[in-house]
Point group: C2
Chain length 271, copies 2
């Protein structure tokens, strides 16, 4: 079972994994270098461990020990116990629901493995907002999608905020990085998927028409600001739009990418 280690000094070197969590750039470097990610909150910590990720350590205030007792019982990683004030000094932010865990990343599965048996997949190009990535993975899981594929530059689904917004769905839904950006969509078409790009392009058809009667469908989503690259928009088999009620000429009354994805997943699941 996890050894409980009481911490009284916020500069304790054993807390390195948890330091300066608000500094996104520093974290990206640290997490890539050391191959770790952080789970936050009792439910999400539990789900990460139950999904088979190996904890490097836990960090929590005393009152969260009981709720995670069974998880700690089954782990040999140390659990750093400290006051909520100290935790805030170390991490730089108010720890949501008191508990954190640092876990080891695993090698990403191959595209073949992720796509084996899959009938509906989400394909994310260059999303930058971890909240959107998390929300999209959560919607995909809830609406029965089988996998998520990420372009090489898409934001990390194992970033703390993405995991939290996804409520841990990033552990349940298989995902991986696409090895090749340029030919990613033709490759999916070659594997029998109809690639459907969500876009405001002039030749976009309503999403219901785009997916109607299709067997295997890959929904393709672009970045928050500029949407899909020209390459991906053109390489997709179909271009589709969520029909909206108001003109979007002022660029405001449109759906954000997470809301559009939820609608598109719903429609695709019922095609």
């Amino acid at each position: 079972m996890a050894e409980l280690v009481e911490i009284t000094d916020p500069a304790d070197p054993r807390l390195g994994d948890y330091r300066d969590l608000r500094d996104v750039e520093l974290r990206k470097h640290l997490e890539a270098e050391h191959g770790l990610f952080l789970a936050e909150g009792e439910k999400v910590v539990r789900r990460a461990v139950e999904a088979g990720y190996h904890p490097r350590s836990f960090l929590m205030a005393p009152r969260w020990l009981d709720g995670l007792a069974d998880v700690l019982d089954r782990s040999d990683a140390p659990c750093y116990v400290l006051s909520e004030d100290l935790a805030e000094q170390v991490t730089g932010f108010h720890v949501h629901r008191g508990a954190l865990a640092s876990l080891e990343r695993r090698p990403l599965p191959s595209l073949d493995d992720v796509l084996a048996g899959a009938r509906t997949v989400l394909v994310l190009e260059d999303l930058v907002d971890h909240t959107n990535v998390g929300a999209i993975v959560r919607s995909g899981a809830a609406l029965g999608f089988d996998a998520v594929l990420l372009a090489p530059r898409c934001a990390d689904p194992l970033y703390r905020r993405a995991i939290k917004v996804a409520m841990g769905a990033v552990f349940a839904l298989p995902w991986t990085r696409l090895p090749d950006w340029y030919d990613a969509l033709p490759d999916l078409s070659g594997r029998g998927f109809t690639t459907v790009a969500l876009t405001l392009a002039p030749d976009a058809v309503p999403i219901e028409d785009a997916v109607s009667g299709q067997g295997k469908v890959a929904l393709v989503l672009g970045s928050e600001g500029h949407g899909l690259s020209a390459r991906w928009e053109q390489a997709a088999d179909r271009r589709a739009i969520i029909p909206m009620a108001r003109t979007i000429e002022h660029g405001v009354d449109s759906l954000n990418v997470a809301a559009a994805t939820a609608v598109a997943c719903y429609v695709t699941a019922r095609r």
Copy 2:
């Protein structure tokens, strides 16, 4: 036209409206007391002014003056000009896209006014997350809903983060507070709306069935954690669910409230 006032001291008392923007509790007090709200980013500032809200002042770094020149030309409020570093010292955070405005709130319209001619409305009970409120208003506007009604304790749509996530749709879509929580839904039924509560209750029917063939529809949404109150869940004419593919017994593979609302709005708009 707006007078440009160069600021070199972050403690300048004229910047009171913009101080400590990260302190949610302080802001709630200040904004209620002084009847103000803040718009952030060039597009959102422009949209607030064009919607008729009266600016108390603007605050921006020099490089944003050009983009908002026409807005400043038409205003008699002062524009505080300062470096981005100083702006961050005053506000306590990195100002997104450089420009802020403090604007006067207006008296909320009456329920009668907001509902005049409305056929589809969103009704939010006790949502606490400003991001969700903003995302829901944006989806409602994009998918052609006519109004948003808020229970007395629902989070403020004019809070800075809600406005930002809504991309200013809170200025375009009519909204108001419900005067009475307890009888809010029966009152809407009395006005000819079919009130449809989104819930995981055992007698919930798929959302498509719940809205099919209905004339005036009010979609009713509960808080992020606990959903609707028992009173509202029972008082609604119908209870509806977004059919999901996976079991939700672990409480994780469900849609979040903003994603569920986007789907429900889409289905309702096409009923």
